[in-house]
């Protein structure tokens, strides 16, 4: 069991000690670093293949049909067929497009998604770089995606792309605020920005029990952050064709798709890390727990995508600034109060107090919302 638990860590230890026999230290470190990077990239690519298949299979079941079932057993090789199709498609650059920007955008869009992987703890000791500012790093790096998408929207010289690009900027910048604010609660609890410490801080109780509201806010903003339905306005098919990647074809289009899927998987992983205890869990090896949790949240993303209609741009902005940001601020304040009041009284008091506090916030929101609804109704009757 212990062997399985630390399989990958032991593997890397064994390899580095093996290499150290005939190579200088700097060379060993370099090789190990490269190997880590390569294995991360391979892991992500395999994940994307699997997720792509899983998503299409799930949507099939949601919509009362089979999903892919032609290529390979249960259609699992569908992704290969699609990849071949993407590779062999003609690569079109529109005549009037800004060539440099147009061709640069699909490259830039994937880079930050891979960069984020560096700080994700996949298991005990399985982190490429344990930065002490891990979460800040994630926020900073993932903002770069916005720029890439704006480049794509602007460089295509297509009105749909432009509209999509504008929507992306408005949406992603707005939703970063509640996302960070909701994660601050977790950071207050651990007192560290490092994702490794955050996971270790959840050894006794996952933070979702202390921060259910924070988790909800984080989840909603994360869905918006990666442009998934019901917040998929930047690529709202029924309105603006494909949004910012309307003009892209072949591999360039595939890059956007890739970035989108990786991003969705990464926000699921971050949610699992921040709120569900990351790789912590009984019986199963840590890395399996991590993957299970990430997929669990990813399933929620899919569920939302296939069930809900899309919001409108003004409603989307309203949700972020008028609802999520104030709620996140209140949540932060209440969390601080709870932590100060229950200091030194043990974990159970803290859990109970936070649950009560979160319940109170929800009750307050429901009351205010209900009151507003009731008032609107009575006013309508009066007029």
């Amino acid at each position: 069991m212990a062997f399985l638990n630390d399989l990958f860590v032991n593997l890397s230890k064994w390899l580095s000690s093996f290499l150290a026999q005939f190579l200088p230290t700097w060379a060993v470190e370099l090789i190990m670093m490269l190997l880590t990077i390569v294995s991360l990239i391979i892991f992500v690519l395999v994940t994307i293949m699997f997720i792509n298949w899983l998503e299409r299979k799930t949507v099939g079941r949601f919509q009362d049909r089979y999903g892919p079932n032609r290529v390979g057993p249960l259609g699992i090789l569908q992704f290969v067929a699609d990849a071949i199709k993407m590779f062999t498609k003609e690569d079109i650059t529109p005549a009037n497009a800004d060539r440099a920007i147009f061709n640069l955008a699909p490259v830039i869009v994937v880079v930050p998604t891979f960069l984020v992987l560096a700080v994700l703890p996949f298991g005990r000791g399985m982190v490429a770089a344990d930065l002490n500012i891990g979460f800040l790093y994630i926020v900073a790096v993932s903002s770069l995606t916005t720029i890439a998408i704006l480049l794509a929207g602007w460089g295509s010289r297509n009105k749909y792309s432009l509209l999509g690009g504008m929507r992306v900027v408005a949406q992603m910048i707005s939703y970063e605020v509640p996302m960070v604010l909701s994660a601050l609660g977790v950071i207050m609890l651990t007192g560290s920005l490092s994702l490794v410490s955050i996971v270790e801080g959840q050894s006794r109780v996952p933070f979702i029990l202390l921060q259910p509201l924070g988790f909800l806010i984080y989840f909603i903003s994360a869905v918006a952050e990666v442009n998934r339905a019901p917040f998929d306005l930047p690529e709202a098919e029924s309105e603006i064709i494909a949004g910012y990647h309307t003009e892209y074809s072949g591999m360039k289009y595939a890059m956007f798709l890739l970035a989108e899927y990786i991003n969705a998987f990464i926000v699921s992983s971050i949610a699992a890390t921040l709120f569900l205890g990351g790789w912590q869990g009984p019986l199963l090896p840590p890395y399996l727990w991590f993957i299970l949790k990430a997929y669990g949240i990813y399933f929620l993303l899919m569920w939302l995508r296939f069930t809900l209609p899309r919001l409108r741009i003004d409603q989307l902005m309203g949700l972020a600034w008028k609802f999520l940001v104030p709620l996140a601020l209140v949540n932060l304040l209440v969390m601080g109060l709870v932590m100060t009041l229950t200091q030194g009284r043990g974990l159970i008091t803290l859990v109970l107090a936070s649950l009560v506090a979160n319940g109170l916030i929800v009750a307050a929101v429901v009351t205010i919302y209900g009151f507003a609804k009731w008032r609107r109704k009575t006013m309508r009757v009066a007029t």
Binding site: Q63, A229, P230, E239, F306, L308, P309, R310, I313, D314
Partner: protein
């Protein structure tokens, strides 16, 4: 204009939505002038699917026109058949046997259910629902199409009705199958409603969007669910009853605000009312002849006639002028969606881009009928 005061110079952009666009329901084009995301102006452009239907109709004999009517509103071929056939019957004063009348009504009401399922599914697709409601609708539609196939041999282009009756009698297993479909459908509509009617996002996207006041609806001569959602009690089955509709007991669902949401509710209500009619028709259908014998060369007397029915999309009328020959001298189609579509620019102004597709979806157009 508010933005001008801030000193920022802004420009409107013109976007061509269509003719190739995922949510124009065919080849329809809208020239949209946008200020940011807000619609300043919208101009519908039609005619990409123009097939000279009316001119072809003059070339064809009366009988040959029936399959052409299938292809007008290709979702509701049965009700198109019925409108045309009834117009010719009115012209030639043909009496229809009672069993045929019942069969027609069963078919037309089934068509209405099919159409509203698809209309709601397409509307939700336009709202960004990623095909799930659409496919739920299509799943139930399959069973109704199976019924059409049993009766007419074709699933969509039914070509089923004839002057003085229908082409074939119902096969023996038809009524049992129909009963099971009619018994199963209320549960499906309930499921649809559970998923959509109280859905928070559907509510915020549909309420107060594309409001059509009743006066304006009448002024634009809108008909069908679009008009009734504005609260005008005008259903041709009631106000100018044809066939044997006066024998059936059903209500006309009405909206109050005339917005997208009301149109959705009216369609749901109409599906339930159609089921009521179907239940009564199943009870009352007699045995007997399904068609009257007509001369091999059919020549209606000279004269002109206009007959209209309440098709699922609105008032579908055929105006025929006969010069006593085998072909109509004039064959004019009053298609409901073409006229309903004229109100689109009025509905869209001031809304956002995302609302345009929702409003268009709520009008429920089929381009085969808009561009004849």
């Amino acid at each position: 204009m508010q933005r001008m005061e801030t000193g920022l110079r802004t420009e409107t952009i013109t976007v061509n939505m269509g003719p190739q666009h995922p949510s124009t329901h065919g080849v329809f084009r809208m020239i949209v002038t946008l200020d940011g995301e807000t619609i300043v102006d919208l101009e519908p452009v039609m005619g990409y699917l123009h097939r000279c239907q009316e001119k072809i109709g003059e070339r064809n004999t009366y009988l040959q026109n029936i399959p052409y009517t299938d292809r007008l509103d290709y979702i509701c071929s049965m009700s198109n058949n019925m409108a045309y056939v009834m117009a010719v019957e009115k012209l030639a004063q043909i009496e229809v046997p009672e069993r045929a009348e019942y069969i027609r009504i069963i078919m037309v009401e089934l068509t209405r259910i099919v159409n509203h399922m698809l209309a709601i599914g397409a509307l939700l697709n336009d709202l960004g629902c990623f095909f799930t409601p659409m496919l739920y609708g299509l799943r139930e539609r399959e069973r109704i199409l199976d019924l059409f196939e049993m009766a007419s041999g074709s699933r969509m282009m039914c070509n089923y009705m004839r002057f003085g009756g229908v082409r074939y009698d119902l096969p023996p297993s038809f009524m049992a199958e129909l009963k099971s479909v009619v018994a199963a459908l209320p549960a499906f509509i309930d499921e649809f409603e559970r998923l959509l009617t109280e859905n928070e996002i559907v509510l915020v996207r549909c309420r107060g969007v594309g409001v059509l006041p009743p006066e304006k609806a009448i002024a634009y001569s809108c008909t069908g669910p679009l008009l009734r959602a504005s609260g005008v009690d005008y259903d041709i089955r009631k106000v100018d009853s044809y066939s044997i509709y006066e024998r059936f007991d059903f209500d006309v669902p009405l909206g109050r605000n005339g917005d997208v949401y009301d149109r959705y509710l009216v369609r749901i209500g109409e599906m339930r009312q159609s089921l009521r009619i179907l239940e009564q028709a199943i009870e009352g259908i007699p045995e007997g002849e399904i068609s009257v014998k007509l001369p091999r060369v059919f020549k209606p007397p000279e004269g002109d006639v206009y007959h209209r029915i309440e098709s699922p999309k609105g008032e579908l009328g055929f105006y025929l002028v006969s010069d006593g020959s085998t072909n109509p001298y004039r064959y004019k189609i009053r298609s409901p969606t073409f006229i309903n579509l004229t109100v689109l620019p009025e509905l869209c102004k001031g809304h956002k881009v995302a609302d345009v597709v929702a409003i268009l979806g709520s009008i429920d157009i089929v381009l085969g009928e808009v561009d004849r």
